[in-house]
Every structure is written in structure tokens, then in C-alpha cells.
């Protein structure tokens, strides 16, 4: 069991996502930065889709009530164990009553805490990913208890020299394929989209990231149609909306681009005011 002493800014249990329920309108959800989440799992010998704790901007304070092995990957929020700094991306032995806390954000915005065997929170519709109206809570709060597997084999049982790809944090260019309505854009629209420097608006969360400035356009709304995480919509008012992991399953705005998986991960580590460029990628 983990006792939540402080919840942090926004912390939720996530995994690889909730598949097979999109036709009921259920979002996929899952870790925003799938790369970091997988890394945190694999480094302690978990399967890559084990459930992890996604923490955002300001980390929580957690007390572990039984031994386990953990790893922290993704954004550097200066993690420490019992007030001594610990490293990212390595397995860390935890004893009963150890307290994990975080300091100041150094890079990125989302970090992932994996525990050996994964979190044992409620599985709903095949996934532990927290989402409003699907799971009973959509984020953790003080005094929540988060269960995790018993440690069956002591010791790390792993040997890896895989290096974390830190270029994802410094990278300010994302790649996108044509979306279904891309061809309706004018040449001027396309020029603006692929040459302008965009900034992340303050409207950014697990559902979507909005970008600035506006891209004035004459596209007409479409019949409500399927969308995916990574779909870039363009509204009649010119707002670019990049859908993220918690996005709805359908939408009515023209879908002009589709980000690569890697680009969704890159964007997941960006926050308000950061700039980025969009590059066109072909299949």
C-alpha cells in the first residue's frame, strides 16, 4: 500500500490505455508520455503496460507501507527518498515506510512512478487508467491508499544498460501526417501551419493542447466523425487543437493532421508558453 501524504498538482494511475470500448464513447486514456511510462516499467522488469502513477508539474509525497522496487522516469522533478536525492531511470529498492517526495521541476512536465508488478488499483473495462465517470476517482488525493503487488523476488532481477532518450525534452519540433481533411486547406494555410512557430496555450491538459496563434481558415465543420489521440483539429475560429490521450472518441471539427506516436510523447512533456514547430511527415 502507498499512503498519499501530498497529492501533487495532478497525479493519476495510468497504463497503456483502455482498448475495446471506443464504440461506447469511452476514451482510450493511458500514460500521456507512453515512452516514459514504458521505460519506467521495463527498467524494473514489469511488462510495458503495467499501471504506473503519472505525476504532473509538482510531484506528490508518497509513503510506501511495504517493500517494493520502483523507478521514476520522464520529467525531472528532483525525486528524493527519505529526503536524499535519487536518480531517474534506475531501479530503486524501497523498504516499508520509505517516503518518496519531489522538488522543483527541471525539465518536461510529466513523470512516471512504476512499482514492481504494477499498481493494483481498480481495473475498469480492462484498464486501470483513471478517467472521470469510468473509474471512481480521476486523480489521487491526500489519504488515498494505492495498493501494489507484494514483492515476491527480492533483488532487482534486471540488468540493463538502456539509456533514456533525453532528446525528447529538448526537441521542439513535432511531426504530423496529413489528416482526413488536410486537403481542404489552402496553400496559405499549409504554409502557415508548417512554417509558423506555435506556442502552447494555457488550455492544455490530458484531453487536448491548444496552440497559438490562430490559423484563419474557411474550412466548414464536418459530420461528427472518429478522432484519435494525436489528431489536430482546426476550428472555424482558427484554433489548432491537438487531441491527447483522454480525448473524446468523435469530433466535428476538421481533422487536418495526425501526430506520430513519438510526437504525442514529445508534446506530453511541454507546457504553457513553450514553442514548437510542426513538420509534415509522409507515409
Amino acid at each position: 500500500m502507498i499512503k498519499v501524504l501530498k497529492s501533487g498538482f495532478y497525479s493519476s494511475i495510468q497504463d497503456a490505455g483502455r482498448f475495446g470500448y471506443r464504440h461506447f464513447g469511452v476514451p482510450v486514456s493511458g500514460s500521456m508520455d507512453a515512452y516514459a511510462s514504458k521505460f519506467a516499467n521495463l527498467i524494473i522488469g514489469n511488462t510495458e503496460d503495467a499501471s504506473v502513477l503519472e505525476i504532473t508539474m509538482m510531484g506528490p509525497e508518497l509513503q510506501f507501507l511495504k517493500p517494493t522496487i520502483i523507478a521514476v522516469s520522464g520529467a525531472d522533478m528532483q525525486p528524493s527518498l527519505n529526503n536524499s536525492p535519487i536518480k531517474l531511470n534506475i531501479p530503486i529498492k524501497i523498504f516499508a515506510n520509505d517516503v518518496l517526495s519531489f522538488g522543483k521541476l527541471q525539465n518536461g512536465i510529466r513523470a512516471y512512478i512504476s512499482v514492481k508488478g504494477g499498481f493494483k488499483t481498480a481495473e475498469v473495462l480492462g484498464s486501470n487508467s483513471m478517467y472521470k465517470n469510468i473509474t471512481t476517482i480521476n486523480r489521487i488525493s491526500v489519504d488515498n491508499k494505492l495498493d501494489y503487488a507484494d514483492l515476491v523476488t527480492p533483488g532487482f532481477g534486471y540488468n540493463s544498460t538502456v539509456k533514456y532518450d533525453n532528446s525528447l525534452f529538448s526537441c521542439s519540433e513535432i511531426e504530423a501526417y496529413k489528416g482526413p481533411e488536410f486537403d481542404k486547406l489552402t496553400t496559405a494555410n499549409k504554409d502557415q501551419i508548417f512554417n509558423a512557430e506555435f506556442k502552447i496555450s494555457k488550455l492544455n491538459n490530458r484531453m487536448a493542447y491548444q496552440l497559438e496563434p490562430l490559423v484563419p481558415n474557411l474550412l466548414t465543420p464536418i459530420l461528427t466523425s472518429p478522432v484519435l489521440p494525436g489528431t489536430v483539429q482546426l476550428t472555424p475560429s482558427g484554433r489548432l487543437i491537438v487531441l491527447m490521450r483522454d480525448c473524446q472518441t468523435t469530433g466535428g471539427y476538421p481533422r487536418i493532421l495526425q501526430l506520430t506516436e513519438r510526437s504525442i510523447n514529445i508534446l506530453s512533456q511541454k507546457y504553457t508558453g513553450m514553442s514548437l514547430k510542426i513538420n509534415q511527415k509522409t507515409y
Binding site: 464513447g25 465517470n133 464536418i222 461528427t224 466523425s225 472518429p226 484519435l228 472518441t249 468523435t250 495526425q258
Partner: protein, 243 residues
Amino acid sequence: MAYQLKYSRYGEFAILIEWPAKIHTSILKNSLLFKKAITSFYIKKKVEVVSSYNSLLIIYPNAIDKFNSEVSNLKHLYFKGFVTEVKNTTTWEIPVCYDADFGTDIEAFSVEKKMSKTEIIKLHSTAIYTIYFTGFLPGFLYLGGLHSRLFLDRKKTPNLKVKKGAVAIGGNQTGVYPNDSPGGWHIIGNSPIDFFNVNTNPPSLFKSGDQLKFTPIDASSYLEIKQQILKSEYHLKSFITHD
């Protein structure tokens, strides 16, 4: 009937199939038959197929390796045609209380449309609606068949909290909010029915291609049904018709 379909790649994991951009039951029927064929074709792969008015999105568990050969498989599947079996259509009867306490905008709607409440309720509850697909929120049904006299543009400023069960009209559409949510539609009633429940399998009874009608009830029946639902003693009424 076979349509001219458009197949396009949608990111690393998905293929989009599009019918002409129209809301029509023949497009719905054709796309649902194709969806069924695709689902059984990919039975061994963990493939998800999401449908909407005029498209199917096939989402593969892994990045698509050979797009062209995947598309030719799909085209082959479509041209083979579908076994047209006698189709039974389920029509669900959804109880709705249209009292002003439940339909918080029905008075304003009546003023705006210059129609009596009785007339609004009659038009709304005599139509048979087709369920096109589920989207927007878990369990939110996109329905076709709203009477044109009930069309009313969405509110300029959306409500921050529309109550679970709210039966509403937005533009040329009507629908039921399956959970508390922000929303910009005009609320003319409320249904005690759970449109989505994670504790039941499947979480929603309603399928694309089913039909639905609204049955007016009074406030005391509303509360009674709510109680029965809490005790899992309520059975939603439905009837089956043949094409």
C-alpha cells in the same frame, strides 16, 4: 447497395473508410454491415472499429506495415457483399419526465419556438429515432429523426453542469446526457435511465442501428423508476420489429 468508398491512412495505427458525407439510414446500414464483416475478418487481431454517420475507423494494435495490401483486403471484403439476413430492429422505450423541474429549459424553449409545452412533448415523444453511433461522452447516443419543428440552435454560452439524464435539443439533434457534463443544448426533460454503467456488461445496452422512442412519464413514476434502477429491479422496455 454498394457505395464508392474512400480508404485513407489515419496515422500509424488506423485506416479510415468514408461513405458520402450524408446522414442517412442506408449509409448507416451499409457501414454497420461492413463493420460486422471487418470485425469477423480481424477476429484474431485486437482491432477496434469505431463507426460514425459516414465512416468507420479501424484501429490496429500495431503500426500498419503494408497499408496497400490491408486496403485491398478491405476492398475485397466489401465487394464480396454482405449476407442480407432478415434484420430485427430493437426499439427501446426511454421514459422521460418533461416537467419543468426536470426539463429546465422547456419553458424558454416553448417561448423561443412559439409552441406549447404539450406540442413540444408530443413532437418529441412520437418520433422514432435511429441510433447512429455513440460518441462525445461514454454512452452518449447520436440520434437521427428529430422533427424539424423542434430544431433550435445551441445556446451561445454552454451550461457548466448539465445533469445526468438530461434530454436535450441542440440544432437538428436530440440526445440524453449519460452523466453530469458541460453542454450547450436546451434541456427539455430528464430520463431516469442509466445510459452507461461500468458495472454492467456491456456498459451500454444501445447499439448503432437500434431505434429509440421517448415515453412521457410524471415525476412520481420518475422517482419510482430511479428507485427500481438503484435496486437493479428495473427492466428497460423494448420491442422488436422486422424489416
